[in-house]
Each structure stands twice: as structure tokens, then as C-alpha cells.
């Protein structure tokens, strides 16, 4: 007779295999892109080794649940006077689990008048979207939000 303990052991193995298997086949099928870049290397490439600070000044607006991963609206708003002395130099939008974590780098100037950028991105699955903001004095600010994706859009 099967013991209760054994039953749970077997159940665990089955669950682990079924969880790993689809991920493996998925990774094997995918052709690699030239621009593939992980989230950590992308952040490093932008900041040059500095650690970005979490800040309430950066307002990231992303839906918490995205039904369609192919079209996810993203809006980044940064509180800044946008004068020639103190302005937002760049806004980067990053997605942590896309094969290329960098989505877009926007270089702003004081002529913009307001530090805001909005676009639509593709997300391959449930992951975190972050906005990395570079100020004119060399500081980096970051805001992150996780997005649940029902249907992946990065193919």
C-alpha cells in the first residue's frame, strides 16, 4: 500500500518535471537575437556601475494586469522643473524578462518643457517593468512595477 509520505514525494516530482519541461522546450526553440541583453547588464550599461535610487519623483503608469502582452501602454512622468540647470537627461524603459531588457532610451532636453514619455511595449510574460531616469546632475532614479501578462506578446 502506498504511504501518505510516498504519495506526496511522487506528487512533488511530477509537479517539478511538468513545471520545468515546458520552459526547457521553450528556450530551446527560440532563436537568439543579436541584441539579447539581460536586465542586470542593461542597467549596468546605462548607469555605468552606479546603483539607481528608488524615488517617488518618478511616476510609472503601467496596467497591473495586461490581457494582451503585445500592446502594453507605459507612461513615465518625472517631477522636474526642466530648466537648463536642472532637467531630466534621459528616460529608459526596461522589461526584466524580455530577451532584450531594453525597450527604449529617450534623451530629453530642456526644450521639452515637461519630463514625460509614453509609448506601448511588448512583454513576453509576467514580469517587472521599470523606468530608469537619468538627471542632469548625474543621479539615477528608478521606479518599478510588476505586470501580469495573460497572453505573451514577444513570440
Amino acid at each position: 500500500m502506498m504511504q501518505r509520505r510516498d504519495f506526496f514525494k511522487k506528487l512533488g516530482v511530477v509537479a517539478a518535471v511538468s513545471a520545468v519541461a515546458p520552459v526547457m522546450s521553450f528556450a530551446g526553440d527560440k532563436p537568439k537575437s543579436k541584441n539579447a541583453m539581460s536586465y542586470a547588464t542593461a542597467v549596468n550599461a546605462i548607469t555605468g556601475g552606479k546603483t539607481p535610487k528608488k524615488s517617488a519623483k518618478v511616476k510609472l503608469k503601467v496596467p497591473e494586469i495586461a490581457e494582451n502582452g503585445a500592446v502594453v501602454p507605459v507612461t513615465v512622468n518625472v517631477e522636474s522643473p526642466m530648466t537648463s540647470r536642472d532637467y531630466v537627461k534621459a528616460i529608459h524603459i526596461l522589461a526584466s524578462k524580455n530577451f532584450n531588457a531594453r525597450c527604449i532610451d529617450v534623451n530629453l532636453t530642456p526644450a521639452n518643457g515637461k519630463a514625460m514619455f509614453s509609448t506601448r511595449i511588448k512583454l513576453g510574460g509576467t514580469q517587472e517593468v521599470s523606468a530608469l531616469v537619468e538627471l542632469s546632475n548625474g543621479d539615477f532614479l528608478i521606479a518599478t512595477q510588476s505586470v501580469k501578462v495573460t497572453i505573451g506578446g514577444c513570440g
Binding site: S33, N35, R102, I104, V106, L108, A111, N112
Partner: protein, 112 residues
């Protein structure tokens, strides 16, 4: 190799004064293929074709320049703000990873 693409520059609000900060959106009809997806019928890879860079020029001065990667959606929209500084022309230049360069411009006439 330049191809004709549908594109649009929208300014909100429509009527604006000199010195006002307005919202500018730029839309293009572009496939933005990542190069990793397959055609479902033929099972062949769709070659990568996405916008590389977008530049906003206003009266010959560069306002915003963007480096774009694959992860933007099909038919992308780029929205920022811009300070109106006299009569002029807003030109948006966008480049493809296949070397396609296109341009779209709009006249700017502030009132009052």
C-alpha cells in the same frame, strides 16, 4: 531604400500660444518585427525589422532623440511634451534596422 509609410504627428491642444508646453504624439505604421517570431503557416522566421532611432527636430534644433529596441509594439506611438518657441516646423526622422530612413513634418503656427 525609402518606403512610403503612414505616419502622423498630433499636437494637443490644437490651438496653442507662443511659449506654451504642448503634448506631441508621433505615430507610424510599422511592423516592428523582433526577428524571433515564426510565420504560423510556413514555419519560417520573420526577419527582424524594427525602428532603430527617432529624432524630433524643431526649427533645426534637436529636441528629443530616442534609441529604440525591438520591444516596442507594432505601429508604435511616441508621446512627449514640447515647448512652443515661435513659428516653425517640427520634423520627425526615423531610421530602421534595415537602413530605411523616413521623415514626417508638421508646420507649427502659434496664435496670440
Amino acid at each position: 531604400m525609402a518606403q512610403k509609410r503612414k505616419s502622423l504627428i498630433k499636437i494637443k491642444p490644437k490651438k496653442f500660444k507662443d511659449g506654451e508646453v504642448v503634448k506631441v504624439s508621433f505615430m507610424v505604421m510599422h511592423p516592428m518585427a523582433t526577428g524571433t517570431t515564426k510565420n504560423k503557416k510556413t514555419k519560417e522566421l520573420i526577419p527582424a525589422k524594427f525602428i532603430n532611432s527617432v529624432k524630433f527636430n524643431y526649427n533645426g534644433k534637436e529636441i528629443t532623440n530616442m534609441t529604440v529596441w525591438e520591444a516596442l509594439s507594432t505601429n508604435p506611438v511616441f508621446t512627449t511634451y514640447m515647448k512652443i518657441n515661435g513659428k516653425g516646423k517640427l520634423t520627425v526622422t526615423y531610421t530602421d534596422n534595415t537602413g530605411e530612413v523616413n521623415e514626417k513634418s508638421k508646420k507649427i503656427k502659434p496664435k496670440g
